[in-house]
Assembly symmetry: C2
Homo-oligomer: 499 residues x 2
Amino acid sequence: MSRPLPPSLVNLELKPDSRVPIYQQLFGQLRGMILNGELASGTRLPATREIAKLIQCSRSTVLLAFEMLMNEGYVEARQGSGTYVVDTVPEDAIGCRSTSAAPDKMPAGVRLSTTASALLDLDIPKSLLPHSRVIFPDVREFPFGTWSALFRSAWKQPEADLLGPHDPMGYLPLRRVIADYLRDIRGLICDPEQIAITSGTSHGLNLLFQLLLSPGDQVVLEDPSAPWMVAKAIACGAQPLFIPVDGEGICLDANSEAASGARLAVVTPSHQFPLGYVLSQRRRTALLNWAQRNDAWIIEDDFDSEFRFAGRPLPPLYTADQSCRVFYMATFSKILIPNIRLGYIVLPPQFVESYSRLRAIVDRYTSLQLQPVVASFIEDGHYASHLRRMRALYEGRQNTLLALAERYLPELLRFEPQDGGMHSVGWLLDSLPHNISAARLADLANKAGIPLSPLSTYCHRFPRPEAVLFGYARYSQGEISYIMQKLADLTGCKGREAG
Amino acid sequence: MSRPLPPSLVNLELKPDSRVPIYQQLFGQLRGMILNGELASGTRLPATREIAKLIQCSRSTVLLAFEMLMNEGYVEARQGSGTYVVDTVPEDAIGCRSTSAAPDKMPAGVRLSTTASALLDLDIPKSLLPHSRVIFPDVREFPFGTWSALFRSAWKQPEADLLGPHDPMGYLPLRRVIADYLRDIRGLICDPEQIAITSGTSHGLNLLFQLLLSPGDQVVLEDPSAPWMVAKAIACGAQPLFIPVDGEGICLDANSEAASGARLAVVTPSHQFPLGYVLSQRRRTALLNWAQRNDAWIIEDDFDSEFRFAGRPLPPLYTADQSCRVFYMATFSKILIPNIRLGYIVLPPQFVESYSRLRAIVDRYTSLQLQPVVASFIEDGHYASHLRRMRALYEGRQNTLLALAERYLPELLRFEPQDGGMHSVGWLLDSLPHNISAARLADLANKAGIPLSPLSTYCHRFPRPEAVLFGYARYSQGEISYIMQKLADLTGCKGREAG
C-alpha cells in the first residue's frame, strides 16, 4: 500500500524549538508547496502516518494540518482513496496565485524617477555611504548591559506619556535633558521646545533641506565635505555651490560675492569634516554676516565636538548668532552606537511651528522606543562617564597612530595631530619612491580589510594634495599597530628601527 | 561682612540624586547665569561658605566649581576682595555669546521652500495627522514585559552582526522571519532579499514616491483616502489623480482612460481605507491590467489585514501580479505599538538594487535596535499569540460598538459591520431631528476627548454622504459604552430602552 513519497516532501523543514505549533508550520509549508507547484494539482498526498513518520511527529499533528488545508480549499478527500491537491487552489479561483508559481511571468523593467536617476548617477562609492566608515566609534566599549537595563526599566511598565499619539518634535523629557546638556557642556542656551529629535543627521538634513530649499536654489557646501551632502541638494532640486576650506575653515569671506544668491550654507565649524580645522573667529563673523546680508540660513553640523582632547572647545556658532539664522545639529550616533539612528536639531525659534508641522506630514515622528532610554542614559550620568572614557581612549589612540605611522610609514604618510575627533588625515609624502596615489593606497588597504578613504572622494571642485582619511577611534592600540605594519607591508615601506 | 546674595542665586537648583556631580551642576548653572546676564560683569560672587550654606553642600564643592569658573575665564579673584564676574567672558572675547544673552537680537523671518509652503498650505487637520488616531491599537494590551526582556537578550551582549555598518535594506534575520511569515500567513512568496525594512508606512511611501515619481507625474489615489497621501504626492512634485471607491474598491476599470497617463497607483486592496471594502476580483484584474498596459506601478498598502474576524482573507494583490509591478507594504505599528515606527516593503525583484542604493543615500537605514527584537517576537510565537488575542478582542469590541450605537444612538448613527479592521464608519441618519453635520458631531466629540473624524476630511474630489470614522480597537467595551452614552448626551439622542 505504501507508495513513494512525493519528492518535494523531503524538503519539509519543521522547527520543534519554534513557538509556532508544528501543525501550523506543516500547514504553511504544504500550502507553499501547493502554491509554487512543487505539489501539483491532482497529486495524492501520502497518508498522515507516513508524513508523521517522515517528520517525526504525532499523527494527530498531521491530521490537524490536513484539516486546515482542506478547510481552506487546498486539498480534498476523495472517498476511500486519500487526500489530493485540488485542481483549482483558492488563489487561482480569484486569480491571485503567488508570482513564484507563475513560470511565464514577465518582469517589468525598471523606470526610475528623474530624482532617483540623478541620485544613483552620482555613483557615490559604496564604502563612503556610511559616513561612519571614517567617523565610527569603538562600539565594543559601549555599556550594553546598562543600555539594555535602561530600556527594560523604561518599557517594562511604560509611563502613560510613552503610549499616546506623539509630538513630531520628539519625547519632551529627552528634549529637556538635551537642553540642560547643551547649556552645561556647550554653553548653548535654548528652550526644549526648540529641540527636534531626528533619526540621525542624514535624516535631519533631509527635513531641513525640504523645509528651506526650493528647486533651483543654491546651497553652499564646504569643499571638501561628505559626498552624500551633494545628494541631499540634488534630492530637493537645489544646486550645490562649493566653497573651499583652509586652515581657518570655510572661506566664505573671500567668496561672499559668489555666494550672495545662496539660500543656505551647511558647515562644520567645530571640526571641519573631513579636514579637522576649527572655523576661526573672523570666518565665523563673515559667515554670520553673509547669512544676515543675504537672508540665508546656516546649518551647523556639530558631529564630533565632544571628542576634544585639548584646549577649550569653541562654543557653537549657534551661540554667536544674533539673528536666529543658525540650525544647530548634533547626533548621538558617534558617542553611543551608530545603529540607534538618533540625533537632534536646535531650531531657530521662528521655525518651530513650520518644522513641526512639516515633520508630521513627511514622516510623523522618530521611533519613541529609544528616546526615554537615551534620556535616562544622560540623566543618570552614563553618557558623561562613557564620553570621558572614550575621549581618553581616543586621545591615546591618536597618539599611537601618530607614533606608529612615524615608525612604520615614515616615507609614506604624515598624519596630522588634531585637537580632537575620531579620525585623522594622512598626507602622502612626496619622497615616496614608488609614487603611490592615495586612491591606490586606499584600494590596497580596503582589500586587506583596512578602511582608508582617499581625500579626493570628498573633494568636489577644488583638488587637494594626495591624502587618505583613517578613522582610528574604532581600533585598539594593538589593532592600530597591526594596521600600520600591514600598510608598510602592502606598500613596501621600510620603516624606522624602534629607538 | 556678609552682604546680601545676588538675587539670581536663589534660582540655583541642584539635584543631589543626579549622577552629575554637584560641583559640575553648580559650575554649569553659574556659567549659565553669567552668560545670560543674570550675574552681570563685575558682580561680586558671595563667599564660598555662603553658597555652601545656601545650597547645603560642602565648601570644597563650591570651591571646585569656582576653580572651574576661574580656569575657564568666567570669574576672576581680586586680591583680598573676593571673586568677581569678568568684564569679558570667553564667549564675548570670540564673539560667541549665547543668543539668549543678547537682548537686541533681531530674529529673522521665516522663509520656507516652495515645497514646504505647499505642504503646509494643505492645512491637514492636526487631529488627522496621526493616521493612527483612527487606526490605533489598544497599546495597554501589549506584552511590554516580554518585549523589554527580548530587547535585553538581544542587546545585553549583542552578536557581532548587530554592530557593524549595516545593510540599508535592514537586518537580514528579521527579513527572513518576515518572508516566512508572509508565506505562511498571507500566501505571499518572496525572497528575503526583496524585503526592505522601513521606519513605518509613511516613511516607506516617501522612499517609493522618490524612487518612482518625477515632478509632473500623475499618481492615482483612492478617493476617499488618508489626506497625508496627497502631501506625499506634492512633496515630490507629482499630481494626485483621484479615482472613486465603491463597494468593490477603487473603480479603475471605469476610469482607466483618465488614468492612462499615471505612473503609479496607491491602493488598499485588503481593506480600503477608510471605507473598509475589499477590492473585488474583477477590480484586481482591472488594476493589474491598467498597470501592465501603461507601464505603471502599484503600491499595495496592506495596513490591517491581520485583523480579519470572519471569512478567509483574500491573498494580497502582490500574489496575482504576473509582471512584477506591485510593491507590497505592511507595518508592525498596528499589531505591536505605533511608536516603534517599523514597517516593510516587498519590492519587485528588479527594484532591489536601485531601492537599496537610494535608501543608503537618502537616510542610510532604519535604527537597528528594534529589528532583532521584532524578529524574536515573531519567531518565538509572541506575535501570533498577541495577534490572535487582539483579533478576538477587537471583534468583541466591534460587536459592542454596533450593539451600543443601536441602543444609544439609534436616530443618529448607523455603524456598518465589517469583516475586520480596527475602525468603523458611522453613517449619519437622515431621520436626525436637529440635522447635525458629521463635522459638527466630530467637533463636539473631540472637545469631549472622543476621537471621531468626519469622513469628509478623507474625501478629495468626490463628496460622500455624511459619516464619521471611529477607531474602536483602542477602547475597552466599558469605554465604548461610556463613549456611546456621551455622544447621546452631547447630541441629545434619546436612545432605546435596553431590552
